[in-house]
């Protein structure tokens, strides 16, 4: 197992190189000039040229790529062209926001999705099955931005129950440790901040959970239906086991592999930054950060962020693969 994990981590190196070449060349292929976007419309050609020289944008692409990768190898993600801040610290401030949102959304999606899928499968063709599966179809087809806007309209504007944007109200004090506000408020025993952070999380979290929840519910249902037909389920019933043991242990554990795959993939996608959700709810996460950077041609920010997202994606997949072995003893990783 340890060998396997080391092997997988080593295989990150070619992935990182591949992703870096791809993101680097794509960024430079797209027309647009960082100098122009920084200095604005009225800048003279001389000013632009001076800035380009300062940012090393006139070097050949290979040299620029070499410089970038050289820095990456030493752990330096460079600094933003636009804000002059270090990319590492900017991402460091935003990644926890995205992670918190993703963890929350995925928890909702997994709990509700798996439960709905199991019940729908056990009571196939019942009203619950029909209702939850049409709901799931509705969920996957729902444009998130529209759902988000409707939620803000209903819960913030009309009912005034939940805050429409941000992570924490201005008047709330919170000592940050992990920068995951829910976790920090628990660690510092700050009940007020916990409730406030949760209220801010609810709408973006649920909006973000909608699609994964629907996919997980449908996958769980079809996988459970398949498993419930197996001989060992008949054996479990013939042994006189309680119905919930048969369903939630014997069947669900067997049905969990395809569901786990979907969860892993969705998790990776969401961690990459839920651009739309973060934009609608003004959530200070990675997704919005990278989109802003793309628009202003902030090369170091875009490249570094894409690299980090790629690494996270690979790690999530590695964790998924390791989890397989916990669910199915027949799977050996070596």
């Amino acid at each position: 197992m340890l060998n396997y994990i080391i092997r997988r981590l080593v295989s990150l190196v070619p992935v990182v190189i591949g992703v870096s070449i791809l993101s680097f060349s794509l960024m430079h292929l797209v027309p647009g000039d960082p100098a122009r976007s920084i200095l604005g419309e009225k800048a003279t050609e001389t000013q632009l040229e001076m800035l380009r020289e300062e940012l090393n944008l006139n070097d050949p692409l290979v040299v620029q790529y070499g410089n970038f990768m050289g820095k990456i190898a030493t752990g330096d993600l460079g600094e933003s062209i636009k804000s002059k801040e270090s990319v590492a610290s900017e991402i460091g401030g935003r990644l926890p926001a995205t992670i918190e949102l993703t963890l929350f959304a995925m928890t909702v999606a997994v709990v509700v999705g798996v439960l709905a899928g199991v019940i729908a499968a056990v009571k196939q063709y019942s009203w619950f099955d029909n209702l939850s599966m049409s709901g799931a179809l509705f969920g996957v087809s729902m444009p998130i931005f529209w759902l988000g806007l409707m939620m803000i309209w209903l819960f913030s504007v009309e009912l005034n129950w939940l805050p429409p944007s941000g992570r924490l109200s201005n008047d709330i004090e919170l000592t940050t440790i992990t920068n995951l506000y829910l976790v920090d408020s628990i660690l510092t025993l700050n009940g007020e901040a916990f409730v406030d952070a949760l209220r801010h999380l609810l709408m973006p979290g649920i909006a973000l959970a909608t699609i994964p929840m629907a996919i997980i519910a449908r996958m769980t249902r079809s996988s459970m239906l398949e498993v419930m037909k197996q001989d060992y389920i008949r054996t479990a019933n013939a042994k006189g086991l309680a119905g919930r043991l048969v369903v939630f242990q014997h069947a669900l554990k067997n049905a969990s592999l395809p569901v786990l795959t979907v969860i892993g993939l969705q998790f990776g996608f969401l961690l990459g930054g839920a651009v739309l959700t973060e934009t609608i709810f003004s959530w200070p996460g990675v997704g919005r950060y990278v989109v802003d950077a793309i628009l202003s041609r902030d090369y170091p920010v875009v490249q570094s962020t894409i690299l980090i997202i790629a690494v996270i994606f690979v790690l999530v997949n590695l964790i998924t693969d390791i989890l397989y072995t916990l669910f199915d003893p027949r799977i050996k990783l070596d």
């Binding site: 060992y232 008949r234 479990a236 042994k239 086991l241 119905g243």
Partner: protein
């Protein structure tokens, strides 16, 4: 044996499946009983209703579409059909347990043998975990699995087919059942392993005194282990007698067909005889004897008249018009 009352009695059982394409009468008037220590064989082709009979006794017929529509199943004098699902779960695996055809798929692949055995024991017996574990080891020992304490930790895929069937048997015997239903327990196994498993079942029956219902399509298995045998065709029993009677004086043309399709060592023929044709579609059975279209002794009246179950003085039942004119038979139904 004769002075015992039957432990399980099935009376005129009808289990039907209500599908969009029509009603399938999978079990259509089956009656039998077994006494403690006795082995009853139920024989027939695929689709003759033998497995559904067994599932009906366990009340595990998938519903919908299946339903026990009439008849009675009495265990220890009590009707199982009146019992609620919760009460049935107390009987399944404890008083009546079951082993299945394919040991490769009948054990749950993601749980260890230990967990699967212990959960049966803990469900039904008042034991703590350590006692249950000891009981599980004892059972694996009983069914002849070497190094039981160590093997208990293994997963099903780490056992061979024969060993898995032994695990299934150990699990079925965990709570000393009164009735063991064995649904083609040797069909999926190598021939040498088949004999071992049958010997094991016979030996365990002598030690534990349970009744066995042996469901099989193999008359060789019947000859090996059964005391009495019921031959089923298209959901109905067509012949019912002691095993010796059945092999010495088979009466039903279908039984003749089954017997002549077994290879005989003393009577070598170039080809084995097969019963021509296919079992009927149980959805729309024509009037008359269901076997008539495949029968070598078919008469005109077989196509129009339902044969009754006839009994002769040797407790030998047969459902065939060939015997209706005989003087000594009692006509049932």
């Amino acid at each position: 044996m004769a002075d015992h009352l039957p432990i399980l009695e099935v009376k005129d059982l009808h289990t039907h499946f209500f599908t969009k394409a029509g009603t399938v009468k999978a079990v259509d008037g089956v009656s039998f009983s077994v006494k403690p220590g006795e082995t009853l064989g139920i024989v027939g082709e695929s689709g003759s209703g033998k497995s559904i009979t067994a599932m009906s006794v366990m009340k595990l017929v998938p519903s919908p579409p299946g339903k026990i529509v009439s008849g009675d199943i009495r265990f220890n004098g009590e009707s199982l059909l009146l019992k609620k699902e919760k009460e049935m779960r107390k009987i399944r695996g404890k008083d009546i347990s079951m082993i299945f055809q394919d040991p490769m798929t009948s054990l749950n692949p993601v749980f260890s043998v230990e967990k699967q055995m212990m959960e049966t024991i803990l469900t039904h017996e008042n034991m703590n975990k350590q006692q249950a574990r000891n009981r599980a080891i004892e059972l694996l020992d009983l069914v002849g699995i070497p190094d039981a304490a160590k093997r208990l930790k293994n997963y099903p895929h780490e056992f061979s087919g024969g060993m898995r069937q032994r695990v299934m048997i150990a699990m079925a015997l965990a709570c000393n059942p009164k009735v063991l239903i064995a649904d083609e327990p040797t069909t999926a196994l190598d021939v040498t392993i088949q004999a071992q498993i049958l010997d094991l079942l016979k030996k365990l029956q002598q030690e534990l005194g349970m009744a066995i219902i042996m469901i099989t399509h193999d008359l060789g298995v019947v000859a090996e282990v059964c005391d009495r045998v019921m031959v089923m065709y298209a959901g109905k029993p067509v012949e019912f007698s002691s095993v010796k009677e059945l092999f010495d004086h088979p009466k039903h043309p279908y039984t003749w067909g089954l017997l002549s399709s077994i290879p005989q060592i003393h009577n070598r023929k170039e080809r084995l005889e097969a019963i021509k044709g296919l079992p009927p579609d149980l959805r729309d059975l024509a009037k008359g004897c269901s076997f008539a279209p495949r029968c070598t002794h078919v008469k005109e009246e077989c196509l129009t008249k339902d044969p009754a179950l006839l009994e002769d003085e040797t407790d030998h039942f047969v459902r065939c018009l060939l015997y209706e004119q005989e003087e000594k038979v009692i006509i049932h139904e």
